[in-house]
């Protein structure tokens, strides 16, 4: 699986994988943290366009990154959520800390 990062100024768009579980999440966290640091990212966008599956490990990825970028005064966005991902966001209360529209 290939991870896709796009940096544009202080904005980083992370293309999320087809299946985001604990197996995939482990490496993803440190990769994103490195990118935030290396490129002084202040806007982090999770793009779920291709994601068909996510479990609570995905929630962990997003909460952790939102916290880290929050320390730097940055914000997190999540876009292109399908029905299932939206349900997970609601079940976990994630939509209260992550903006789910506006940063397309």
């Amino acid at each position: 699986m290939e991870q896709q990062f796009t940096v544009n100024g202080e904005k980083l768009v992370v293309k999320m994988p087809r299946e985001l579980d604990h197996h995939y999440a482990t490496g993803l966290c440190s990769q994103i943290d490195l990118m935030i640091d290396a490129y002084s990212i202040r806007k982090l966008v999770f793009d779920f366009m291709d994601t068909e599956f996510m479990d609570s490990s995905g929630i962990g990825v997003i909460i952790g990154r939102t916290r880290n970028i929050g320390f730097l005064g940055g914000k997190t966005y999540a876009i292109h959520l399908n029905g299932q991902i939206r349900k997970i966001f609601h079940a976990s209360g994630l939509q209260r800390i992550v903006q789910t529209e506006g940063e397309e």
């Binding site: 299946e19 579980d21 604990h22 197996h23 999440a25 482990t26 966290c29 599956f53 996510m54 479990d55 609570s56 490990s57 929630i59 962990g60 990825v61 909460i63 952790g64 029905g83 299932q84 349900k87 997970i88 079940a91 976990s92």
Partner: protein, 152 residues
């Protein structure tokens, strides 16, 4: 006319064992999805069950064992529309199941999972039962009614 003929119960059983390695989380989801096919689940039901299975299997892999060569067992049963899934490990078990099931509770915060595994199982399945004994292991039993099979 055939009112006295009792409807035959449709049932099926599947039991698999796999190594406690994170790559097998996806395998477990796929096996369950395949098992569910004949129940004609909706896309949403399928996604709900896959999420719950992923949570339970991940717990077994992360928490129950220290070694990847240990085994996790996945047992699926179907009785008409009722799907029962059991995820069994023989790992370290839990002293306090109730505490483990509280949202956001985690014994491994460094892994940055959300502590919502059990909460998700309960949210996406009709019934969740957790039996655990320290040093013996854990059995998670989850049930869900899946749509209704196509009448033939």
């Amino acid at each position: 006319m055939n009112k006295n003929v009792e409807k035959e119960i449709q049932q099926n059983h599947m039991q698999i064992r796999f190594d406690a390695r994170s790559v097998n989380e996806g395998l477990a989801r796929m096996m369950v999805a395949a098992f569910m096919t004949e129940l004609n689940p909706t896309i949403e039901e399928l996604a709900d069950v896959k999420t719950a299975v992923s949570e339970a299997v991940t717990n077994a892999i992360i928490h129950a064992y220290q070694k990847e060569t240990e085994q996790v067992e996945l047992i699926c049963d179907r009785k008409d529309e009722e799907l029962t899934i059991q995820i069994v490990d023989h790992g370290i078990g839990m002293e306090n199941v109730e505490q483990a099931m509280e949202p956001f509770y985690t014994t491994k915060p460094e892994l940055e999972r959300s502590g919502m595994g059990f909460a998700f199982m309960e949210a996406f399945m009709d019934q969740v039962k957790v039996e655990s004994e320290p040093e013996k292991g854990t059995r998670v039993t989850m049930k869900k009614n899946i749509g209704s099979p196509i009448e033939r």
